[in-house]
Amino acid sequence: MAHLAVDVTGLTHHYNTTSTQPILKDLSLTLDKGQTLALIGASGSGKSTLLNIIGGLEPVQQGSVSVFSKPLQSADDAALTQLRRNTIGIVYQSFNLIPTLSVTDNIKLPMALDGVARDEQRTRIEQLLEKIGLDHRSNAFPDALSGGEQQRVAIARAVVHRPALLLADEPTGNLDATTGQQVMHLLQDLVAEHNTTLLMVTHSSTVAGYADRVLTMSDGTLKEHSEHASSANTW
């Protein structure tokens, strides 16, 4: 099991305590270290919920979930916080940048929360800014950036603390085709650089095409995707 980044077994999840129909039904999933997995499926199929549970943002109601051998169902808030701080990075469809912090400060945030030394912070930020091509916008605020630029900053923030697992929820969902492609290339490069495991949720078969493995989610269950799309598709 040491080779597994994510191990989900018998996961059942309801939206809330009153709902009778589970959003995830006895779901199992394994993800190897360094692997890129794309989850595709219709809206409301439970993709994002699964991502949030793996990211420790939602509790495990039934079943077990381990991230790098750390069981989440028994983890308390401090342990989950530690896991997110050291092991996980998250990219959102709507970027979720803090509007009152500049580009630099947004990227700095996870390191600041983790107590990374200031010199180290500066070095990593400079490297990342150069990599995402925004070194000239380091002092700009999010609402002065384009959608593509904001997502690049969000990706930089998600990887700046060098997480072993990167979770991306519709990373190109708010972008046009060209920008989406640029963002995916960037994501691919950064993942490859540190052998990061990537779990993506997407509607786009093109984005799914970047993955080593694609699973389709339907009615709260997973199945291997038959077509491995690589041709252009809607973003």
């Binding site: 808030d77 979720n96 509007p99 945030l109 600041a112 929360l113 107590g115 200031r118 603390h161």
Partner: protein
């Protein structure tokens, strides 16, 4: 149709944010509640005074008074001579009834019928004859003592009960009622001869009351003896009302300050409610709603909320007034005259004023927010940073306007005037001006702190950065807290300085070691006078360890300005030390050797008197006589003003051999208690009730009264702090509600609950310290204005401003404590919300 849709949209927004709505309403409710409670309290006191005057005077239109009462024989002769007129003699004394202050009226039953002052209670009176008039029934008891029904009911008394009257037992023989039940609360009635005995006024009556028309009054006035004076009963009432005016204006001003703080709060919450919906407003504009329409809808919201909250505020005000009434009445009793107010009087005008102030101030506080909703371009409104950019542009201008207000306030303050309203206007303008400058000053202070200390902690950097980046919210919250804390500091410094001055003054005034006051104390601090022969006094002076004595009597003297309590003093060698002169002159020597009086500082201020001024006194032997003002002395005993007259001067113009108090100086080094015992033994040789007290106990009691006087101010001050607390609480909550997604992002990025809660704590602490630091100059300015302008114009008292060492740390602690307390709930809430929900929030 469109309006209905807009209202529906607004209503849904507020239903989704109930806590914000409640906090916003709470600010208005408290603000209106405080103002209304003070208005009701003041109105109730004035109304009670008017009603009790009606009860006291009945149908009397005029009264004849003399400087030292009217001698029995002269009064009787006058009544006989003017047998066609309706005249009745009256004695009025303050007494202690079962330990509670009451007014005892002595009436002549034979002459009362036409005055219709009282009606007997048909069911309970000892004389069970309901057909009898009140005055006739009064005749049927040998030793009649009647209480008003209101008094009896409140004190649970019935006819036949034994009561304690000034320390002696008396039997309640009847009950009476007056036209207004509330008016008679605290009233006792007895036969005039009994009142003379109980009030130590044997041989004289206080006044003759008459029912006259103006023509007869004019004729009668010209025929009166020189030492008698005819005055309309309304004249006396208006004088007494005027005495409390300054005090009531002070209370009203304090309450308006609470409303001002409430306005900051209302502005803050309404601005937040607008900012939160900036995208909704932008969308509405995109679909064709005009800017005017948006402006109207925000103002209409404010109107609806403030109307609802103001009505609740009025109810709260009535409740608070019930609590304030006792404190206010106590102060009026301590400082001015005996007033019995047991119930609040609601006037439609008072309630309407509270309503208009509540709705008006809310709409005023909302105008800026409404303009913001309407004026932003549709595209800009969607940009969060656009609001902060705009705020950053506005802050310096607000500061300039604030600075201009400060200058205007200072200019108004220094205009040489006696107008109290002008003084308060200056104070309010200074407050508003400073308040407008606070967001800019806060931003500078927080920026400075961020650059200085930000390097030490990322959390601090984030916390402070978040504050300065959100000045549209935090600036107002800091302003509200600053204003409230400054008001607290200002009032504290003023009362502290005042207390210190009174303390020093008491030390100086109470030069004798022991004081004998004659008659049992009646709770008013006044004593009744007694007559002693010279031998008795000489014997007192020759008691072992008695070094010297001085004597005094407090009398009411009529001047060309008004009637004043006057201390007639037979000074001892050390008496001069009792007086601190406001102007440096040979006042004491003039006082001892010429036909002169010393006047207190409030009297001098009010009537523009100074050493050498002339003052006409209405004397017993020669009618009007011009006296010189020998000097102006410091006196905190009465805001109405008092005089001191040398005994020998008094004896030249008045024939009143009584004395009311004796001051005894003990030989240095002698123990007091043996002297007190010897004095009491010596007093036992007379049948006069007397109280012997040392100067320390009088000093202590006086300061107790002082503290009691400011109890009402302290209550208002804490209520104001309550409004400010809600202000900072709602600002923090609003800020954190709006930033819920940011906090969720931080949590998702590895931030722990403790880190985020620490950040909120740091923000609160920073806001608290900023408000505390900014409150110190404003509080100091307020105390200077209160001491040197408001107090002088209200009461005529000057004093030295004192800044105690503890004032600054206490102010900072108060601001910090309030801010820290206000962040508890937002911090607690932070860790309990669903991260996923917050991350989804758009």
């Amino acid at each position: 149709m469109v309006a209905a849709l807009l209202f529906k949209s607004s209503w849904r927004f507020h239903r989704q944010h109930p806590l914000q709505l409640v906090l916003s309403l709470a600010g208005i409710i408290l603000g209106v509640g405080i103002v209304t409670s003070v208005l009701i309290t003041n109105h109730s006191a004035v109304r009670a005074f008017s009603l009790s005057s009606e009860a006291l005077y009945g149908k009397a239109t005029h009264q004849i008074v003399a400087a030292n009462g009217l001698p029995d024989e002269a009064a009787a002769a006058f009544i006989k001579t003017h047998s066609r007129l309706v005249i009745a003699p009256v004695i009025e004394s303050d007494v202690a009834l079962n330990g509670e202050l009451a007014t005892l009226i002595g009436l002549d039953p034979f002459r009362e019928a036409q005055f219709a002052r009282l009606q007997p209670n048909a069911h309970q009176n000892a004389s069970d004859n309901s057909a009898e008039s009140g005055s006739a029934a009064l005749l049927n008891s040998n030793y009649p003592l009647w209480a008003s029904e209101a008094t009896a009911q409140r004190m649970d008394l019935t006819v036949g009960d034994t009561v304690d009257l000034n320390g002696t037992e008396a039997t309640l023989t009847g009950l009476f009622s007056t036209a207004s039940r509330a008016a008679s609360d605290g009233l006792l009635v007895t036969d005039i001869s009994v009142a003379q005995t109980l009030g130590n006024k044997l041989g004289s009556v206080d006044r003759l009351e008459l029912i006259l028309d103006d023509e007869v009054a004019t004729t009668l006035a010209s025929t009166l003896p020189a030492q008698w004076r005819l005055q309309a009963t309304t004249q006396r009432q208006s004088t007494m009302k005027a005495m409390t005016r300054g005090f009531q204006i002070n209370l009203t001003a304090m309450s308006l300050l609470a409303l001002l703080v409430g306005m900051f709060l209302i502005h803050n919450t309404m601005t937040f409610a607008v900012l939160q919906r900036r995208e909704v407003f932008a969308t509405k504009r995109l679909v064709g709603i005009s800017t005017r329409g948006l402006f109207s809808i925000v103002i209409a919201e404010a109107f609806v909320f403030s109307a609802v909250a103001s009505i609740v505020g009025l109810i709260a005000g009535i409740f608070i007034a019930g609590k304030l009434l006792a404190l206010t009445t106590q102060t009026i009793n301590d400082l001015y005259f005996v007033l019995h107010v047991q119930q609040i009087h609601l006037s439609p005008w008072v309630l309407l004023t509270g309503l208009v102030l509540g709705i008006g101030s809310s709409i005023l506080a909302t105008i800026l927010a409404a303009r913001e909703a309407a004026s932003d371009s549709a595209a800009n409104a969607r940009r969060r940073s656009a609001i902060e950019e705009k705020t950053a542009t506005v802050l310096p201008w607000l500061m300039y306007v604030g600075l201009a207000c400060l200058l205007i306030g200072a200019a108004l303050a220094w205009i040489p005037s006696q107008s109290l309203m002008l003084g308060f206007a200056a104070l309010m303008i200074v407050f508003v001006g400073y308040g407008l400058s606070i967001p800019w000053l806060s931003q500078r202070l927080l920026d400075l702190t961020r650059h200085t200390l930000g390097g030490f902690s990322v959390l601090l950097l984030l916390a402070l950065g978040s504050l300065t980046d959100n000045m549209s919210r935090t600036g107002l919250a800091i302003a509200a807290l600053t204003v409230a804390v400054a008001a607290t500091l200002g009032v504290d410094l003023m009362t502290g300085s005042f207390r210190h001055s009174v303390d020093t003054w008491l030390q100086q005034t109470l030069q004798s070691d022991l004081y004998i006051t004659f008659g049992d104390t009646d709770g008013t601090g006044r004593s009744r006078a007694s007559e002693f022969d010279d031998t008795w006094l000489t014997e007192l002076e020759t008691l072992a360890a008695v070094e010297e004595i001085s004597t005094g009597i407090l009398v009411e003297l009529v001047t060309n300005f008004d009637t004043f309590d006057t201390l007639v003093l037979q000074p001892s060698a050390g008496s001069e030390q009792s007086y601190e002169w406001i102007d440096e002159n040979d006042s004491w020597n003039t006082f001892l050797t010429t036909t002169s009086v010393m006047v207190s500082e409030p009297m001098a201020n009010k009537y523009q008197l100074s050493t050498g001024s002339d003052i006409t006194l209405f004397t017993e032997t020669e009618g009007d006589v011009v006296f010189k003002v020998a000097g102006v002395y410091r006196d905190y005993g009465s805001s109405h003003g008092r005089m001191v007259m040398n005994r020998s001067t008094y004896d030249d113009f008045w024939s009143n051999p009584r004395i009311g108090s004796i001051g005894i100086n003990v030989t240095p080094g002698a123990e007091l208690q043996p002297v007190i015992d010897r004095v009491r033994h010596h007093l036992a040789s007379t049948d006069v009730a007397a109280r012997v007290r040392d100067n320390i106990s009088i000093h202590r009691e006086s300061l107790d009264i002082f503290d009691r006087t400011f109890a009402v101010t302290r209550v208002l001050r804490w209520l104001t702090m309550g409004v400010a607390f809600i202000g900072i609480f709602s600002a923090l909550l609003a800020m954190h509600l709006e930033r819920a997604r940011d906090f969720a992002v931080m949590r998702a990025s590895g931030g722990s609950r403790i880190q985020l809660r620490s950040m909120i704590m740091l923000q609160s602490i920073a806001m608290g310290i900023t408000a505390g630091l900014l409150a110190i100059p404003l509080g100091w300015m307020m105390s200077e204005m209160l001491i040197h302008i408001i107090n002088v114009r209200s009461f005529g008292w000057s004093m030295n401003a004192i800044l105690p060492r503890r004032a600054i740390p206490e102010t900072l602690a108060l601001a910090l404590g309030s801010a820290a307390l206000a962040c508890v709930y937002p911090a607690w809430r932070l860790g309990r919300h669903s991260l996923v929900d917050d991350l989804r929030t758009e």
